[in-house]
């Protein structure tokens, strides 16, 4: 089951279902419909778990200087990890309301950093902004997320050989358009 975010395509070969979660075109199937809520890019259902997948592509060769400057600014001042955390929380609520949260959730993101040194730190930065914010909660019976982790293309493919990600040609596809296949 292939999903594409601009020119990055992931093939979730072991998925039961895989959807573009942030579909904001009313005429498309799976229309999200609440612009005020943050949204991850994909939600993937596996036999034993659910994946929330967010993609950011600063490593795109076509990335524009202003876009990159904004990305790095947000990475540095912490707003990027805030956004990643909000996307998880709002998606979690939305899927709860849909009655689709019956398996453990993993929040795995693909950020096309060139340096893999940045990955563990950024993963932890997002994780500590997700409830219960690194605290031990004796009253809680469940946890929201099993694993919150960020990968670049190389580390994603090494970690998940059954969900290969590749940069694909977007010729013939309107830039910015997405498709589920």
């Amino acid at each position: 089951m292939k999903l594409r975010e601009r020119d990055l395509e992931i093939d979730f070969t072991t998925a039961i279902d895989a959807i573009v979660f942030d579909q904001m075109k009313a005429d498309r199937p799976g229309y999200h419909g609440i612009g005020q809520m943050h949204r991850v890019d994909f939600v993937v259902e596996l036999e034993e778990a659910i994946l929330f997948v967010e993609i950011k592509d600063p490593g795109n060769p076509k990335a524009k200087a202003e876009g990159l400057a904004k990305f790095h600014g947000e990475l540095q001042d912490g707003t990027l990890s805030n956004t990643f955390a909000s996307k998880f929380i709002d998606t979690f609520l939305y899927r709860w309301a849909e009655g689709c949260l019956h398996k453990p959730v993993h929040y795995i993101s693909l950020v096309t950093f060139e340096d893999s040194e940045l990955l563990p730190n950024f993963s932890d930065e997002i994780a500590k902004k997700l409830p219960p914010m690194g605290k031990t909660m004796p009253r809680w019976k469940r946890q929201l997320v099993e694993n919150c982790q960020v990968f670049n293309i190389e580390m994603w493919n090494q970690s998940f050989p059954k969900w290969p990600v590749a940069r694909v040609q977007v010729d013939g596809v309107k830039r910015g358009a997405r498709r589920g296949a």
Binding site: H106, E117, F160
Partner: protein
């Protein structure tokens, strides 16, 4: 300034040839790959012994004092299990060459040089901090034979250089010499004060450099070298501390401070600054500023050769170097062949080309371990 070093059948090295950058060089390698031995070889070949009429005897003794071979015979430094004599050869920037050869049974070495010109003295900063040892090593007339048995010449040389009298008026130096106006205040502000020599021992005076008169905005914007410096050290009311009472990492910064203030380290004139594991005992937060200082020294024509196995230090150099300021950082990787045990070397100008790159490997390992622990076989 050293431009090339060759080591054959010497200690850890079977056959090594390195071309050095005139600015920053970083020798990287795991423990036991010969980083310190390489720095000491440069120190030995840069010294005055090679020009001495008794060069063969003097250099042999110098090598023994630096490497402390068990038998105290220079021949022992020839690499065991190899054929041929040991050979150390250095070419310096002004074209001088010094070559030393010796057999496995030698008590003297054969020295050949191409010119009688004096070489600029190299400075070696060993792994352990030396500032607090100066009083014991130099000031209180210690028993030299005992010292020689405990400390190799790397420590004793530095202690002598630190205790050298010189214009200790750092403030004047900072005012008059534009090369120092960004380096010396940065070092002092990094550790919250400066070390001063009082009665043969180093003491720490807390304080900071401040802009006394306030630079005009025009002066602030002027290029560094033309900027009128108005920075002055202002001590706090805190009492003087003995150096032993201060953090060991601070004392390492203090070594650099002192060498600059007494003229032992004079960028543009001094030979290479050889620094073995600058990161040891240093708070990682001080690392960035230390790298900025070393880059600034190199911009003022100080050749710097560091040995490290801390890949964070390399990453700082990679991030902070400014090619617009003609920064040039060369990485020399030493590794050991698992089959033959021989030390191998490879040099590169790009951090990304370093292979094996332990920093990336370490972080990738963390990523993989987290996946394994939290996601098990998912996606595999």
């Amino acid at each position: 300034m050293i431009s090339n070093l060759q080591l054959k059948n010497f200690t850890a090295f079977t056959d090594l040839a390195i071309d050095f950058s005139p600015r920053i060089n970083i020798v990287i390698g795991e423990n036991g790959t010969g980083k310190t031995q390489l720095l000491k070889a440069i120190l030995a070949l840069s010294g005055p012994e090679a020009r001495n009429p008794q060069a063969g005897e003097q250099l042999a003794r110098r090598l023994c004092r630096l490497y402390h071979p068990l038998s105290d015979q220079v021949g022992e430094l020839r690499r065991a299990g190899t054929r041929g004599e040991a050979m150390l050869s250095a070419t310096f920037a002004a074209g001088q060459t010094v070559t030393v050869q010796f057999s496995g049974t030698a008590s003297e070495v054969k020295v050949s040089t191409n010119t009688g010109d004096e070489l600029a003295t190299a400075i070696f900063i060993p792994t352990k901090e030396v500032l607090s040892l100066v009083r014991g090593l130099i000031a209180d007339k210690p028993d030299q034979a005992t010292l020689d048995r405990i400390f190799d010449d790397g420590y004793l040389d530095l202690a002598r250089q630190l205790s050298k009298e010189g214009a200790d008026d750092l403030d004047t130096k900072v005012q008059l010499d534009p090369r120092f106006d960004s380096i010396v205040p940065r070092l002092a502000n990094l550790i919250g004060g400066r070390y001063e020599l009082r009665d043969g021992r180093f003491c720490f005076q807390a304080g900071a450099y401040v802009n006394k008169l306030g630079a005009s905005s025009a002066a602030t914007k002027a290029p560094q070298t033309f900027q009128d410096s108005v920075q002055k050290f202002v001590p706090t009311k805190a009492p003087l501390l003995s150096s032993g009472m201060t953090a060991e990492g601070f004392r390492k910064i203090g070594v650099l401070q002192r060498l600059l203030s007494n003229g032992s380290l004079n960028p543009g004139t001094t030979g290479p600054l050889l620094w073995d594991e600058p990161e040891s005992n240093l708070n990682p937060k001080l690392m960035k500023d230390l790298v900025l200082v070393l880059l600034e020294l190199a911009r003022n024509n100080q050749q710097v050769i560091l040995a490290t196995h801390d890949y964070v230090l390399l990453k700082w150099f990679d991030l902070l170097m400014d090619k617009g300021k003609a920064d040039q950082v060369r990485f020399h990787v030493l590794s050991r062949d698992t089959d033959t045990g021989q030390s191998r070397q490879d040099s590169m100008d790009d951090y990304r080309a370093i292979e094996p790159n332990a920093i990336a490997d370490t972080f990738n390992e963390l990523t993989k371990e987290q996946v394994a622990r939290k996601m098990g076989a998912l996606g595999k």
